[in-house]
Amino acid sequence: MPIEVRIPTVLRQHTDGEKKVAAEGETLHEVIADLEGRHPGLKGKLVDDDGALHRFINVYVNDEDARFLGGAQTPVEDGDVVSILPAVAGGAHPRVAGSPETR
């Protein structure tokens, strides 16, 4: 049984609209590399050039935040579920004065 990877809406352009895709590997890093072979473009959305998880992408293994498990080196097994969600963050930092989108 492969690893099930749940793809958020904003990344489904890379999976032909599929919500769940299969991947193989023994660590998150390997799963992401395998995903890239099947669904080009995903890897760059998940990790930086050094292979570390992006700060504003949450990756979970069986509902646990991978940051607290071992990051990209988190081990995974067949049957595990990997979920991906872009972070939801922001706040009242001052707006850039004169930005073109305001009038």
Partner: protein, 148 residues
């Protein structure tokens, strides 16, 4: 008041609106955040998500609580309709940080300002760094966007 191009409307029922305002007030002066999910623009569920940053100027949704909400949305085939957060000392307009970290182009970004006595709520889309505003309706009536 900072303005953006108006494009479309966003409808909230009064119960949900009041629950969001109550949530925003409940942790003042810290920012709160949450999600609204549903179908065809009808809100089916309001999620109050803990602000992992617990800050007066920043919010970051608790990753586990967020995942639970998204999993439930998937089970029910609900869409993410809106992402809301409060600004406790500034106006209800997306900050540079809000724009930079807007990773959900299909969602409405609802911002509640508590800087005045009366709360002010406004609704936006943030796509590719561009802000557009939706006219906000609560219980069928348009909400004034505030005096500033």
């Amino acid at each position: 008041m900072t303005r953006a191009q108006i494009d479309g409307r966003f409808h909230l029922d009064r119960t949900t609106y009041e629950a969001i305002i109550a949530h925003a007030r409940s942790d003042f002066p810290y920012e709160v955040c949450g999600l609204l999910a549903g179908e065809d623009g009808e809100i089916a569920k309001h999620y109050r998500i803990p602000n992992a940053a617990r800050s007066m100027t920043y919010y970051s949704m608790d990753p586990k609580a967020m995942l639970q909400a998204f999993n439930e949305m998937d089970e029910h085939d609900w869409d993410l309709l809106a992402i809301y957060h409060s600004h406790t000392h500034t106006e209800a307009f997306p900050s540079a940080t809000d724009v930079e970290l807007a990773f959900y182009p299909d969602a409405v970004y609802l911002i509640v300002s508590l800087q005045e006595d009366e709360p002010v709520a406004r609704a936006f889309n943030i796509r590719d760094g561009k802000i557009t505003e939706r006219k906000l309706y609560v219980g069928g009536a348009q909400v004034p966007a505030g005096s500033r």
